[in-house]
Amino acid sequence: MTGQGVAFAVLAAITIISALLVVTIKNIVRSALFLALSFVGVAGLYILLNAEFLAAVQVLIYVGAITVLMLFAIMLTQQIMSAKISQTTEWFWLALPMALAMLATLIFFFAMRTYPVNPAPDALAVGTTMPLAEALLKPYLLPFELASFILLAALVGAIVIAREEKPGATD
């Protein structure tokens, strides 16, 4: 097995096992930490796929921002931190076969198909960061602008919803 193969296997294992832990363990704080680990695994896969910029973004935003945000939310809504209460619904035994069926479908009809792609592109291809920046600021300028508006709206919305109203602040 090549070094790349080993790296892939390790990263895939990290990603999948942490993801599994995210959805199964009871303590929601640990769950969030495993989520971060899973994201790191995905970032590693991005590097294997020559997407260094995305890997960096992945670590910064997912691990650095989203997971932390979630931890904050967990802290703010303390009750759910307690490891004692059950974290799963009674849907478990219905969800398991459904998820497995979906998995079988995806593996067979999606992952195991032949795609019109290079079977093995050069592993040491030039970095994609520059062209990515070009793409984002040239043809994809509009979505780029749009994303900024989305972030603004989300920010306004999040603040307005989560902000604690002072009682009697009316008039």
């Binding site: 999948i16 993801a19 899973s38 997407a51 979906m102 019109p116 093995a120 793409a135």
Partner: protein
């Protein structure tokens, strides 16, 4: 490099784990985490196709950047809603909001 199917397989597994979590998690933050897993699965597809495809080009990566942005916005809004519900109802468990009610 590994064949693309390996990445797609990881993505499929990740997606289904997310789906499973969405269906079984009781509290809203847990569901949100599972949703993030699903988004990551989709991103992995996009990046993989982008890296392998002769004609796929960079579009997949561009898409993935936007997805990450949206995921951040979504997490912010979602968590705000969760906190808001907690302030009103003192819990964030979806079965207590009678989610599956007709």
């Amino acid at each position: 490099m590994q064949p693309i199917n390996c990445y797609l397989g990881v993505s499929a597994i990740l997606f289904c784990i997310g789906l499973f979590g969405v269906m079984t998690r009781r509290n809203a933050v847990g569901i949100l985490m599972s949703i993030e897993l699903m988004l990551n699965a989709a991103n992995l597809n996009l990046v993989a196709f982008s890296a392998y495809g002769p004609k796929h080009g960079l579009t997949g990566q561009v898409f993935a950047v936007f997805v990450i942005t949206i995921a951040a916005a979504e997490a912010a809004v979602g968590l705000a809603i969760v906190v808001n519900l907690y302030m009103n109802a003192k819990h964030v468990n979806v079965d207590q909001v009678n989610l599956m009610k007709w």
